[in-house]
Symmetry: none
Subunit: 229 residues, 2 copies
DNA sequence: GTAGTTTGTTACAAAAATGTGACGAATGAC
DNA sequence: GTCATTCGTCACATTTTTGTAACAAACTAC
């Protein structure tokens, strides 16, 4: 069973290289030079994953990602963003937008392949109707509604963002620094321990409503969202 | 057991420098000034890794890499590309097809050695999805999960680092000093016997979960990770 | 065999990391 | 303006980690 991957990248050379690396690994690869082309190919056949360059002619990769994530038919296709190092600050936005991972250029093909495999393995954690379900949790990002064991629960803005980020990136450890970047946003100078406090608040709320422990501490590293231990 | 490395580089000075650095580290080094020469040497004996200059007379490094990767006999040889900084901007940008890693000139020998070691070790040891499997062990670095005989096992930060290092560098003896450098980090002043204690802790945990002995003592030298004895 | 090294093992205390409650500035609704 | 909420920070409690010393066991050379 070979997964199909759509590469959206304007520079032919890099595209060529990507195609080459991917096909060696047995992926069924298609290419588009811009978003318009990409849309046509997606319409023809839904790819299992999209490799999306950040900088694209006409529509930027980020806008394209947003559009894909808004469309009912395409919103479950995982996206890996390719960003140049200078654009790194933008990875925040990228993840917020719905990209499932990002890879910073220059990167080694092996790294890319590993990321692809990881994302593909994760499968969709959002069910078709856009609701994240994991453990006793149920998050509807459209209505910003969270249920724990079927009870509606309120979260403050940051609590919600943090919970949503963790819930949509389970099984993976994030350092406090990463969480500050991804959840709080890049430019802040906030104490890392603040993360601890917010984690504590989340845990309290979840526990209060009868959820099993979902947020786990990884000593010396950070936190991880996981259904069972 | 020393790894053999083929250096493909047209500038004699750089070649000389590379040979010197590599041999200090105990690598068995061979050199070629162009791709033609390189092919002959590869035919004679397959190297464990190729250091390939991006700019070469006649055939460019990238083309040569592609060719190697297409050939059934040579496609599994890891390649590290050497690229000049000026070239990085344009062509390289992200990928060199087929290369497993890249190093930008000018580079420190230390960095190069590190890259070489990384590429060499990730050969057959890491399965495609980035999970290290060896013996009863299964280490997922993303989730920082370790399973021993399918049971999830907790490790402290240093335990984890040490285990990960050893598991990704099997079949090779490391002195306490080396382990302190690689696992603890260079600048520490820690008693060498500390390594013994951590090794002991690892062994205990592994044994407790039914693993066969994986960490072996090499009397008078250090420790070695190995699946069977 | 013995003496001298090297390594295994245990216990303990210092250090580091994390959990937790409280406080107050900032914000926004009214 | 008041009031309630949010959320960053601090201080302290608790837990976990980890370096070290001390001694036992294993190994080596002779």
């Amino acid at each position: 069973m070979s997964n199909s991957i759509l590469v959206v990248e304007d520079e032919p050379e890099i595209r060529e290289m990507l195609r080459y690396s991917l096909e060696i690994e047995g992926f069924d690869t298609r290419e588009a030079g811009d978003c318009h082309e990409a849309e046509k190919l997606i319409a023809k056949r839904t790819p299992d994953l999209i490799l999306l360059d950040w900088m694209l002619p006409n529509i930027s990769g980020i806008k394209f990602a947003k559009r894909l994530k808004k469309n009912e038919l395409t919103k479950d296709i995982p996206i890996i963003m390719l960003t140049a190092k200078a654009e790194e600050e933008n990875k925040v936005k990228g993840l917020e937008t719905g990209a499932d991972d990002y890879v910073t250029k220059p990167f080694s093909p092996r790294e890319l392949i590993a990321r692809i495999r990881t994302v593909l393995r994760r499968g969709p954690m959002t069910s078709p109707d856009g609701i994240v379900k994991i453990g006793a949790l149920e998050i509807n990002n459209d209505s910003r509604n969270v249920q724990v064991n079927k009870q509606v629960v309120d979260f403050s803005p940051i609590e919600y963002k943090l919970l949503y980020f963790l819930a949509t990136h389970p099984e993976r450890v994030y350092s406090r620094e990463q969480l500050l970047t991804f959840v709080w946003g890049g430019e802040t100078y906030i104490d890392e321990r603040t993360v601890d406090v917010q984690i504590l608040r989340l845990r309290k709320i979840l526990a209060k409503h009868g959820s099993e422990p979902l947020i786990h501490t990884v000593h010396g590293v950070g936190y991880k969202f996981m259904e069972k231990k």
